[in-house]
Symmetry: C2
Subunit: 402 residues, 2 copies
């Protein structure tokens, strides 16, 4: 049996945010946590936040899974909590993921650096941070740890699992690996397996980090670490999260208006360069480089078919209504990757809806285009959750579960 | 007056190829070579190769301009020259750029590292390699140097100027800046100005090089230099030269078959990663990192409108028949960028043809899809050059000019 602790794993990552509403769940150390690699690993702790209240039937829970640099803070916890979450516009009172109706759970992934066990944590066996001695993990390993959390919370079946990007990979994995535990599924801007080009982008990012001498084979804790490498990786990431069109709309060919003005001075920056530098520096302030390496590796390894006879067979295990959402201008996980999933599910006679967010914002559309996503998600959720009868008015009048 | 020298500028770049058919042209040091930045610069030497023979009327010359990492060796010089050129399939006896009919000129760009004056060359004023003391140059500066070469060769009007990618930018610049000297124009997979996304990719590449400690502010000659940074830059470049589809077709999700086999070993590589590493290492063997920085900066600064009232006004100066070719799957300079040029030229009543190479190969299509390009180019060339009466059978019977 799993048990709860209010203790965060000891972390060497100095920028770890200590958020007041974060709880910690440590998997039962007596039960081996076996990774996809076959390696037994532990202890495993997940940092998580919840919103709203679990009803008596325990069937109004929604799991929100986060993207690469996300965390458990998908929304603020009301007026006592000034920090907005990464899906603030979608989660809260009266929002799509309405905390009056649903019990929302969001956990930092296994391998993460915002409270869950990851490469920046101290290995109790050695007393040193794991660094690159952390085991290679998969999206399925992340989901397996989340499943233990859900079990621990006494939830047998989630009303919905929803995520975008790496979060969408986790959501798909939930529906494939635990079909009996997923009432409905929303996958946004994610593929069912990583394709070559995204692996290639990830490898360039890896190289940028691992060739930074300050990376020091991952043993950089207590030093500034590979700030250049991680910033360069993020800069590339930011290009893949946007689009040709959105960058042109935002930055054009304008130079920055402060600093060097001479276009023939190598130090003079176009606005788009300055923006990328800013984004690179910002990530360094909130993310751990080794964690970045482990999570993008998990994305590379992501393939729903692993452990199943085929990709189709894996998708064939899904037994709930599915909403797949693509972003029209996504260059990282283009819509054909969502359409592949939709086509297979439809050919299997499954209940699947497909929507496209029409936007120039690229992959990041799922973190921006709330007005376009909101009706899609609301329609699907209301249909699925009413149909399944997950909600009872008597349960759903409560506000945040303090 | 310009004069010829058979002497290459002294270069600190150890991988400079000494090709037997390369000639050198040094601009007249008595005539100031004024860069777009306003800076007077010299001495300027261009390495160039020619194919075929200039006819008596001196009107069968074609200038081929090269892309970022290209050089003057667009084709081999027959059986005495075993090294194929970067456009081998298009240049030679009986090929589109038929050396029996045309006098082909191809020069390494100003700022290049294959024989022309560039950052790896020794500055005669200091006796040291320029490094980052080399002036920032533009595509127009490159073209201005080429114009001096063409003048020196006694050619008043080129039958055609043709180039792909950065070569296409040069070709466009020729037609805008020297309309009287260009008989016809072929631009492949190039924009008329650099847009934000391509500047962004270039900035990530710059960062990768400039944060490599071995770059040493550009003063790395005599050392291995920023081999990691340049390799990382090239790896990213290679992604932008291909497409999602072509990478998937070539590499899928396969791991490399030699070396580490365990997918849970961080050292195990997907084939696409191994390919990128190979390409990165290969470029380091043939290209200078500072040169890379200067050329991608020239690309960022590229905007035909500079020095003209508007972008439209610049294009309005073109007075020859134009063929614009896009590549359907180009993610670096997508077809809308070629269509922008075509639309403006058509609105001005100019003679412009537009063709699209339908291919999954992405930007690199112009270095691969010769069978598809060949009829497009042949049709256009034969129409333009016959119409203009540039060729006389009496002149064109000669073979290579030794």
């Amino acid at each position: 049996m799993a048990y709860v602790t209010q203790t965060a794993p000891k972390s060497a990552f100095p920028k770890l945010k200590r958020r007041p509403f974060v709880r910690y769940f440590t998997l039962d150390p007596e039960v081996p946590f076996v990774l996809d690699s076959g390696r037994k690993f532990g202890p495993v702790t997940l940092a998580y936040e919840t919103y709203g209240k679990l009803n008596a039937a325990r069937d109004n829970a929604i799991l929100i899974t986060h993207a690469l640099t996300g965390d458990s803070h998908c929304a603020s916890h009301g007026s006592h909590d000034p920090e907005p979450g990464w899906w603030e516009s979608l989660v809260g009172l009266g929002r799509v993921f309405d905390t009056r109706r649903y019990f929302i759970i969001c956990s930092n992934v296994l391998g993460g650096c915002q409270g869950s066990t990851g490469p920046a944590c101290y290995d109790p066996a050695t007393g040193r941070p794991y660094g690159m001695r952390f085991p290679v993990i998969t999206i399925r390993d992340m989901v397996r740890a989340q499943k233990a959390l859900i079990d621990h919370l006494g939830i047998r079946r989630l009303a919905n699992v929803v995520g975008g990007s790496m979060g969408g990979m986790q959501a798909l994995t939930w529906a494939v690996e635990y079909p009996e535990a997923v009432g409905s599924l929303i996958v946004i801007a994610a593929p069912g397996r990583a394709f070559s080009q995204s692996i290639a982008y990830n490898e360039v990012m890896r190289r940028a980090i691992m060739t930074d001498p300050q990376w020091n084979s991952g043993d950089y804790y207590g030093t500034p670490g590979p700030v250049n490498g991680l910033a360069t990786a993020r800069m590339l990431g930011m290009i893949t999260y946007q689009s040709d069109e959105s960058m042109m709309l935002k930055f054009g060919r304008e130079f920055v208006s402060n600093g060097h003005h001479d276009p023939f001075d190598m130090r003079t920056q176009f606005q788009v360069e300055s923006y990328l530098h800013y984004q690179g520096a910002k990530l360094v302030e909130r993310f751990d480089a080794n964690t970045y390496l482990y999570l993008i590796r998990a994305i590379d390894l992501f393939d729903l078919s692993w452990g199943h006879p085929s990709y189709e067979a894996a998708l064939g295990r899904i037994s709930c209504p599915v909403l797949i959402v693509g972003v029209s201008s996504d260059i990282l996980y283009p819509t054909w990757q969502q359409e592949e999933i939709v086509t297979i599910l439809r050919s299997q006679g499954k209940e699947v809806e497909y929507e496209v967010i029409e936007t120039p914002f690229g992959h990041d559309g799922f973190l921006i285009e709330f007005e376009k996503m909101e009706p899609m998600l609301r329609r699907f959720l209301s249909r699925c959750c009413n149909q399944a009868g997950h909600l009872r008015r008597s349960d759903s009048a409560c506000l945040v579960d303090a």
